[in-house]
Amino acid sequence: MDKRMSIDEVVEAIPSGATVAIGGSSISRKPMALVRALARSDKRDLTVIVDVGGPDVDLLLGTGRVRRVIYAFVGFEVLGLAPHFRRARQQNLAEFEEWTEYTVMAGLDATIKRVPFMPTHATLGTDVLKVNRSFKEMQDPFGGETLVAVPALAPDVALIHVNYADVQGNGVILGDGHVDVLCAKAAQATYMSCERILSSAELQRFGRDVQILRVYSKGVVEIPWGAHPTGCAPDYRTDLRHLEDYLKAAQSEEGWRRYESEFVDVDHRQYLANHGGPEELVSRLKV
């Protein structure tokens, strides 16, 4: 079984209107090469599910691919707010539904366990419960305690980026795992990019770091620097300089057009070349 695909084949497989869960966390291990390809495609009306979103959500909003965002957080961590997310929220350019970190996990887990909901106390006493139209207060069937029923989140597609994978679709994550396993298990089709493809025998040597199981993955794409400009521990750290340029570019229409033509509307090879090539990235970002 060989599940290798090209970036374009992955994008091809995602229809307009699809619900796409994206792994990683803010500026860490986002499947950015796949996200960029989706951002420059003609796909429309995507629903994006993220636990902790960052440049992924922001870029897809910036290029107009998104109708709806389900999120616990969207931001650039130490660098501040996400510009297109902020604009879209403030100008109501898309639909937004605020969840929380655990409830996104619980919603994915509900789909995995084929139950319509998961119960929790989280969001009681907060305004998240007021603005989130999907949650529902419920009474515990035993003691009558008030709980929140978190509905199942059922992504059509999950996009994740891992350190290593084999052609069968097993994936190794060496840094923090974030919610990638939940995304991979919950989605109808999981597409995984990786820094490097290894043989299955080599992959098995990683033991419990093999976190993505092939029974959940539909496609594998080998894309070195595939998480850039987010980091991919322990291979490379976040490219904060690139992200600062991104934030500046997003301040003006003209700046953003220039950013798009240089870093979005180009294939991955050209993207790397526009950073001075892999050697330059190595010197700045390899730890």
């Binding site: 500026i27 860490s28 636990d51 902790v52 999120y71 616990a72 957080f73 969207v74 931001g75 961590e77 130490v78 707010l81 996400a82 997310f85 902020r86 929220r89 403030q90 109501n92 605020e98 929380t100 970190e101 655990y102 409830t103 996990m105 106390h121 989280a122 969001t123 009681l124 006493g125 907060t126 305004d127 998240v128 603005v131 008030t146 060496l174 840094g175 923090d176 795992g177 974030h178 919610v179 396993v181 770091d209 980091g231 521990a233 322990p234 750290r237 976040t238 904060l240 300089r241 700045r284 970002l285 730890v287």
Partner: protein, 287 residues
Amino acid sequence: MPLAPGFNIDEVVITAMARQLHGEVLVSSVTAFGSLAAHLAKRRYAPDLAVLSTPESGMDVTPMPTLTLGQFLTDVQQGIPLTMEDIFDAIFRDRFRIWINPSQIDQWGNTNITCIGDWYHPKVALVGARGIPEDTSHLSETFYYLLNHSLRSVVAQVDFRSGAGNGESRAFLGRFGAPTVLVTDLGVFSFDGPEGRMAVRSLHPGVTLEEVQERTGFPLAVPSGKIPETDPPSPEDIRIIREADPLEVRKLELMSGPEAAEKFVAIYERERQTFHATYPRVGKWGR
């Protein structure tokens, strides 16, 4: 800021934060201040703490404030890898502590990191509630800090409750997740005023009650008798903080504008070399 000679406000705040931590619990390292408080506490005040090097992983290593949330230390140092599920289980089981840095906090200890203005038509869309609803519905101690105690951040009522404080927010939660303490650049505050409202516990050296009240959006409860002065950091506290943060990442949180940008670039350039020098590769890669 009038402070006694020999220490800076960041050291006062971090030390005050560190002295709140106790017991055998996981402590997450999300911000530089939170990370340094955990580190100092572990070294001086609460040796049983299980300090994480990132928001979700790397248990029982020395956290080092970084621009990218300690991700690389997980792999470069050793440390026990945890999952997001582990983190939320620890929150639900009350084995977790975190210093939350909200955009707004109100007299009840409700906190906001979601938006300024109305959620549906935000004046400023911030980042989203992240995991704060989980913390404020489960932990027996919730810790907040602010570095810009002002009428904009310490308000009568938050624009949006990302986190549940006292008062009506407690309706279904009881004491689970109730606010415990707020440390700001002016003083230390608890939530044991009338009906669980914010009260002054101590003021930092050189700070007057009038000054604090002027910069607070509601009348503060004040203990009878003389208001205690916050215990200043000891020389040992200061030494530990400075040694643990040689790049002064913590200073970034106190800056803004061009000054912050310049500092940021300087840290970013030096960070990579420092990782190499400080933490030789002894993790999974060195096995």
